[in-house]
Symmetry: D2
Subunit: 139 residues, 4 copies
């Protein structure tokens, strides 16, 4: 069974463009992050929760593949899906789909839950698992 695919819609605006008239690679990561906060915040794990628990997400690796350029006015859908969670490390997939249903960028994030005081990765808590989109309990 696959975990739920969350959707976050965005329109490419002038401020997303760089001096070459398209969306710079760093801005993709900003848009993916905006989508992740929308997803985990909507499931109860916003900044308040991070401050309360002292546990926040951290990124270990990112693998991006760019398939189609993003240009002004495009209406995109940023999709987010948890692919796996093994031990302390999850693989979260995010990808951008244009109005024609074509994939424009696919990115895998290796992430973990980080204890902000102990400064180390910890096992996922139930609140975090729910926020990140784990549909069923870990066995």
């Amino acid at each position: 069974m696959e975990n739920e695919i969350a959707s976050y819609k965005l329109v490419i605006k002038v401020h997303h463009l760089d001096t070459f008239g398209h969306v710079n690679n760093a801005v993709y990561l900003q848009m993916f992050e905006e989508a992740r906060w929308d997803v985990v915040g909507g499931r109860g794990y916003g900044l308040d929760m991070i401050r309360k628990t002292g546990h926040g997400p951290t990124i270990l690796e990112i693998h991006m593949a760019f398939q189609r350029e993003l240009t002004l006015g495009m209406k995109i859908d940023i999709r987010t899906q948890l692919k796996s969670y093994e031990g302390k490390v999850a693989v979260l997939k995010q990808w951008i789909v244009n109005e024609a249903g074509e994939t424009c960028c696919t990115t895998d994030f290796k992430i973990g839950l980080f204890d902000l005081k102990l400064r180390k990765l910890i096992l996922p808590t139930p609140e975090w698992l729910q926020a990140i989109g784990m549909s069923k309990p870990l066995v």
Copy 2:
């Protein structure tokens, strides 16, 4: 024989930090880009050259691994090295080293030279090969 390693030094300042007090993943890509422009610009391939030739670099894939956090005041060295150029696709490695000589982030970029009018990848030109740091002529 390995290609030359270019060096670009930077100090982490307040404006590099996000609300968590460290450097956000998107800012790493901005710093890597700043270093790349410094490197290829210094070897004669700046914006002017792109406008003149109509050929500019494009990014196909990015693979980042984060080893150590970047925090305020750190003096870092962003290193850039061309690893390979096969057909139309190059692998460019960039990595961040702190003052203790430890690697903080390692990133591989799959890039190519893009014809801005034809909107497609082309074989590397001699000017571009030199700018990107190919030490010896392609055979």
Copy 3:
């Protein structure tokens, strides 16, 4: 008769915050610009129009006053209104209102229409006057 007040709604998200946990002054200008493009773009003066006519807006002066802090989760309304257009120089007012109806930031922009080839200010064209929100024809 006052010119129309345009409204652009925004929610303050994590990526708007700086390392002090609030919205940095530079981000206010980004949000105002996002609102202006929404307003003038919606009235037919987007990037396409600028490229077609060779006439784009330019900013001569900015006067910002900060009344209330913007923090995470706030739902704000960015309002835009043309106050005057005398010769080549317009005064455009933008201000941010929170959910309680309180003003958080008030900004006056002195702007003009710029001929991108001649590199100088020009008198407003009818298309630009309409886009910027002039309700009645200039006498």
Copy 4:
């Protein structure tokens, strides 16, 4: 007697440019902020000091005038000078000078020292007065 003029040098690079090929107004504020941190940090009032004292600078008003465009490759000097400090409110002037010695942008900031716990403006402390560039003691 005038207070000291601090100098912060910067080169306009590709990442400073927006889709119109020049430096966007919001980026001016980022560059001014980068210069201010350099100035007050160099005089002992960095982030550490703000965390230790619980007193940080806050901006009340900004008045920017743009005289000359900033474009790629320009070597600029951002100058910072305290003009006055009356009660809780200081006027800090920052301006950008190009290589020809011409002023490109002039900005006045009304700022104050803010108690981060009490959430209100306070009178300047000696450490802050020194950092902000007050050459002589207040009478």
